[in-house]
């Protein structure tokens, strides 16, 4: 007869609930992501006492080195990139838990070593650790690694959980995303797979859910009757840096819109979930994606604009254009800027234009969601001397100034009834005065905890590619030179052409 496990009464009231002992296995353990993000995030979790009570880390990469050499590498990475100065004693204890396996990802011997070390760690503790395999590698290795884990029987175990974390990009179009999902799901179950979109680990993004569903003031207005349009912006002031090889094959649509911006849109537009369990939230997000009518091939030119940055001035310096960047293919038609207009065909959102734009080398770094309400039907105040009465806007600032801002119209002090827009601001810094944890800290902890709420599900990823695919297809048939915008500018003038009914892009 099965025994019913009683709840742990000691966890009540604790902010950090227990996480089952875990061995984290990072593929690509010497890569840029591991160095800049994963290892510092693991350290910060250790510093705060948030890691599982018993924790090990195994790194795998091609570099031929010993455990101690990897520990030195990890130490340097943590010291360089951690958001806080490491405590020597904690760092030293964490490094003691690290092991390293040299090998290529298709080498069965590497998996044999992983299994052997992981088993040794289990035996030493006298218990079965959960295992989290983190694929911080080039996407071309995802299938190979998953398959090899399956062949070695490392995809599941008795009395403990096995999870697989996959970094974006999840495919480069709908077909490749399906192929990747099929490959992963031939080894792992969907509940074991955690597809990371680090935007979802940001506090402001999570707060968008609280703002919508924890405040009665917004819900009555959150529909086509009151909302005029939505603008989602991810503007970067930097260029492609050293990522030419990746970026030239990807472009802004794949790199930002297909994942980050569509994820932001789902959170903004979803119906209230029954609960905040992973599947309830993701069910609602997928419904939004399914309700988006992608542009047809013919509509792409009216609804989507792409462009490349030309030379210009950024941070007071002359900078080259995209085509002059080192590593970019001559005559490349990869877009560094994309703006598009979508619509959500459901009762709540029908007819509300959703504008999105993402670009590099723009005048400012800003990521935000702007919800513009419809104007009042009649303005009784005098317009003469008033400073442009504008409809109310609710702005969710994702970065750099995390917070929420609501624009209102107020009377300008004086004898006459003149008005101008003013802002009500909620800034994280002023209300919490605390540093938000890095998105990766939250997400790594969630994978160890087994909470998939902030991770993309297979159908979500495929639905997002379904929206983007026709655009990619249309572009593939149109190889002409792309419109250019000066580096350091707000973007190409052509972006205005997709706006409807006198709408304007928000100033960056």
């Amino acid at each position: 007869m099965a025994t019913v496990q009683q709840e742990n009464p000691l966890t009540e009231g604790l902010e950090r609930t227990p996480v089952h002992p875990t061995t984290l296995i990072i593929f690509g353990a010497t890569g840029d992501l591991a160095q800049r993000k994963l290892l510092p995030a693991v350290y910060n979790l250790a510093h705060e006492g948030a890691l599982p009570e018993r924790f090990n880390l195994i790194g795998i990469a091609r570099t031929d080195q010993e455990h101690d050499e990897y520990r030195s590498f990890a130490q340097e990475a943590i010291q360089k990139y951690s958001r806080r100065t490491p405590d020597e004693a904690v760092l030293s204890s964490l490094l003691d838990r690290m092991r390293y396996v040299p090998g290529s990802f298709d080498d069965p011997a590497a998996y044999e070593s992983i299994e052997s070390i992981a088993k040794e760690l289990d035996d030493e503790a006298g218990m079965a650790f959960n295992r989290v395999f983190y694929l911080a590698t080039a996407p071309s290795f995802f299938e190979t690694i998953a398959e090899a884990l399956g062949q070695r029987g490392l995809d599941r175990r008795e009395n403990a959980e096995v999870r697989l974390v996959v970094e974006k990009p999840f495919g480069h179009d709908l077909e490749s995303a399906r192929q990747l999902n099929r490959a992963l799901l031939s080894v792992f179950e969907e509940r074991q797979i955690y597809r990371i979109d680090h935007y979802l680990g940001k506090e402001t993004v999570q707060n968008a859910l609280v703002l919508r569903f924890g405040n009665g003031i917004f819900e009555p207005l959150w529909n086509r009757s009151y909302i005029d349009n939505v603008q989602i912006t991810a503007a970067e002031d930097i260029g492609i840096g050293t990522r030419a090889e990746y970026y030239d094959r990807s472009g802004a649509l794949r790199d930002i819109v297909q994942n980050h911006l569509l994820q932001l849109l789902t959170i903004l537009a979803m119906e209230p979930p029954v609960s905040f369990s992973a599947d309830e939230v993701r069910n609602e997000k997928v419904k939004v994606l399914h309700a988006i009518n992608p542009p047809t091939l013919e509509e792409v030119t009216q609804r989507v604009v792409r462009a490349q940055y030309a030379s210009g001035v950024a941070e007071g310096k002359d900078v080259p254009g995209y085509l002059e960047e080192q590593g970019v293919a001559s005559g490349s038609t990869t877009e560094t800027y994309v703006a598009l207009r979508l619509g959500i065909d459901n009762w709540r959102w029908a007819g509300v234009p959703i504008y999105m734009r993402a670009g590099k080398r723009l005048s400012r770094r800003v990521t935000e969601i702007a919800v513009t309400l419809k104007p009042v039907p009649h303005l009784a105040f005098q317009e003469s001397g008033s400073l442009g009465v504008r409809p109310n806007q609710l702005i969710l600032n994702v970065q750099p100034n995390e917070g929420v801002s609501l624009s209102l119209v107020a009377k300008i002090p004086g004898a006459r009834m003149r008005v101008r827009p003013v802002n009500m601001e909620f800034a994280y810094g002023t209300s919490f005065m605390s540093q938000s944890p890095e998105a990766y800290e939250r997400l790594i902890l969630d994978t160890m905890r087994g909470d998939a709420t902030l991770f993309a599900r297979d159908d979500e990823v495929e639905a997002a590619w379904g929206i983007v695919d026709p655009i990619l297809e249309a572009w593939s048939q149109d190889g002409g030179p792309l419109p250019q915008y000066a580096a350091g500018s707000p973007g190409p003038a052509e972006a205005d052409e997709i706006l409807l009914d006198g709408a304007e892009w928000r100033a960056l």
């Binding site: 496990q5 009540e12 227990p18 009570e53 405590d87 601001e425 002023t430 209300s431 605390s434």
Partner: protein
């Protein structure tokens, strides 16, 4: 870092309030990137001779600090109020980023002012924010006076050498406000670790088999050990028995159904930081689990009934006393439902 200062002798709360408003207006007029922080008000009542030390403690709290601090320094014999106000921004000079502004009001007052402290500080706290009162040098009269204004009392029950008296005081305060106790917060990592250790399925049943608990503490931190026992007793549904002190050591029993649980507190003189030094939990089948302070976290050791031993370090940096105070400020904005039952159990053990 921008700093704006105003000061006056023999002043009034209304003048201080007006000066604060003026400073804020002036500062705002100079740059829209400056935004006053709005987290919580802290009213700190301190002995004037320790004012600098308290300010140093508040400066070092790290990530969590009050947005408006009203520091009341009490001087024997003083009959007038002298005050200063300052605004300081954390600006980095980057015009695209918001600079968060903190406000501090320093008031020098006499003991006679404390009976009506509420009337003095009421105009100086930001409405609609949580107000925390903290009196690290006693001044219970100030806390009593703040009953109507304070949402939270921040205290350290280890400040009173008599644990029984400390617990009674907390229980009285809890009748009208929320209490954040630094002695309780020092025990948080221990509670988290005990909970985690017994969380895996294979160990959870052992919670019902606990037969003995030994807690090691710094000699001046018996209250931390008593609170830990109170927590275990209340969470595990034990019936608390009496805890008796003999030669600085406490011992007693609790009843877990039909099983008696032995409880013991052992002072450890060479501990550098206040709070707990270690805890050992024994179960009726002869297994033990020990957690002890060590470099880089807590040293854990488990011995099973067949004599097998397993040791590991539970990672975590020491927060230090400054970090504990910062945590106290942060906890003023949260609610821990387990502190009240734990301290009431602890009170029963000492009664």
């Amino acid at each position: 870092m921008t700093v704006e200062v105003w000061a006056a002798e023999n002043t009034t709360p209304a003048d201080i309030d007006s000066a604060l408003r003026h400073l804020l207006e002036e500062q705002h007029g100079r740059g829209e990137g400056l935004a006053p922080a709005r987290v919580l008000n802290m009213v700190a009542v301190v002995d004037a001779s320790w004012r600098g030390e308290v300010l140093n403690r508040l400066e070092r709290v790290g990530r969590y600090h009050p947005s408006r601090t009203v520091l009341c320094a009490v001087e024997d014999g003083r009959t007038t109020l002298d005050a200063s106000a300052r605004l300081s921004g954390d600006g980095t000079g980057d015009p695209s980023l918001i600079s968060v502004v903190e406000e501090r009001v320093d008031i020098r007052m006499g003991p006679s002012h404390l009976k009506r402290l509420d009337a003095i500080v009421d105009p100086l706290i930001v409405s609609d924010l949580i107000t925390v009162v903290w009196a690290p040098h006693g001044h219970h009269d100030a806390i009593e006076a703040m009953r109507g204004l304070a949402d939270v009392v921040l205290l350290d029950s280890a400040d009173d050498p008599n644990p029984s008296r400390a617990i009674s005081w907390v229980c009285r305060l809890q009748e009208h406000c929320y209490v954040v106790d630094l002695a309780w917060l020092r025990g948080t990592p221990w509670r988290e670790r005990i909970a985690a250790t017994f969380d895996p399925d294979q160990w959870r049943l052992a919670l019902r088999q606990i037969s003995k608990i030994v807690i090691r503490h710094r000699p001046d931190s018996a209250i931390s050990g008593i609170l830990m026992l109170g927590w275990l007793t209340s969470r595990l549904g034990w019936t608390p028995g009496s805890l008796v002190e003999e030669g600085g050591r406490h011992h007693g029993r609790a009843r877990a159904g039909k099983v008696e649980v032995g409880l013991r507190l052992e002072p450890v003189p060479d501990l550098s930081a206040p709070g707990l030094g270690g805890i050992t939990v024994e179960t009726s089948d002869g297994s033990t689990l020990s957690l002890d302070r060590s470099q880089g976290g807590l040293a854990a050791k488990r011995t099973t009934r067949d004599g097998r031993e397993s040791s590991w370090v539970v990672l975590g940096a020491s927060r230090g006393e400054a970090g504990i105070l910062g945590e106290g400020i942060r906890q003023a904005l949260l609610r821990d439902p387990t502190y009240g039952p734990a301290i009431r159990c602890a009170g029963k053990m000492l009664s």
